[in-house]
Amino acid sequence: MAVLFILFAGLAIGCAISMVVQRNPLYSAISLIGVFISLACLYVTLAAPFIAAVQVIVYAGAIMVLVVFVIMLLNVEEEERGPLRLRSLIPIAVMLAAVLFAEAVFIIFFVQANPRTPALTVSDIGMTSSIGGGLFTTYLLPFEITSILLLMAIVGAITLARTGGLLSPRAAVVPGAQVFSKEMLDREKYIDDLTPVTTQSTREAEHLLGIENKDQSSKT
């Protein structure tokens, strides 16, 4: 058991440090998946197989796929090595770290260890049926509130990702790519000018096409 703990804890800490150190967001996403999977293995050693499975499916599966999808969609480049933020706070940080380290040393050497042993005997604590029973009896109200939270998240995500209202309705725009106005796309109605316009930003595209958004400029 101790060997497993040390193996997966080391893996988790190594992947976490690698995640913070990496400059490319895609590499840190992959390191984060490593952290999630080693934490799932630790959950198995803690006799919580259901939570381990959900950890792999929801975190390493769904959430990280979403994050990687957004990283690739936005075409994120590596961070440049700029000057460190918060440089003036370094002495305070060193002092606080020293205090924390002293506290840890005090606890390790002067506080008696808790002799409690883990639940290695057969118990149904981590099993799916007991978790389902707990969710639908004692914790029914938090469970229902969770469903309302998910509904709010769905509505919020759709509202945020909607494209309408930000640009003029006459423009079809992909940021950083080619920009057409509807007149150019609708070839049957407007046959005079069919050359696509390449721009670097949406604002430039608006300026080029002469469709500066009156609503947006009055709002901001």
Partner: protein
Amino acid sequence: MVPQLSWYLALSAVLFTIGVVGVMLKRNVISMFMCIELMLNAVNLTFVAFSSFFRDLSGQLFVFIVMTVAAAEAAVGLGIIITVFRNRESLDVDDASSLRL
């Protein structure tokens, strides 16, 4: 030698601290977002460790709810990130210092 409860708590504290350091040092919004996910996972590890050592089911149910909150946060947070990127053409948090889109 059997792992003690304090080992899991120490691991959780280390992971949480790495997450906090990442949020402070990173400039990219998506990297900061992933560090927040790491912090949530460190807290989840504490819950599961306590639940297993004290033989109480509640900890694992809390983990379930924390995961739901994390999933909702991922959906809405990434939506906000995409909207901010569309308006500012940048993912640097220093470029997005004012709250309006």
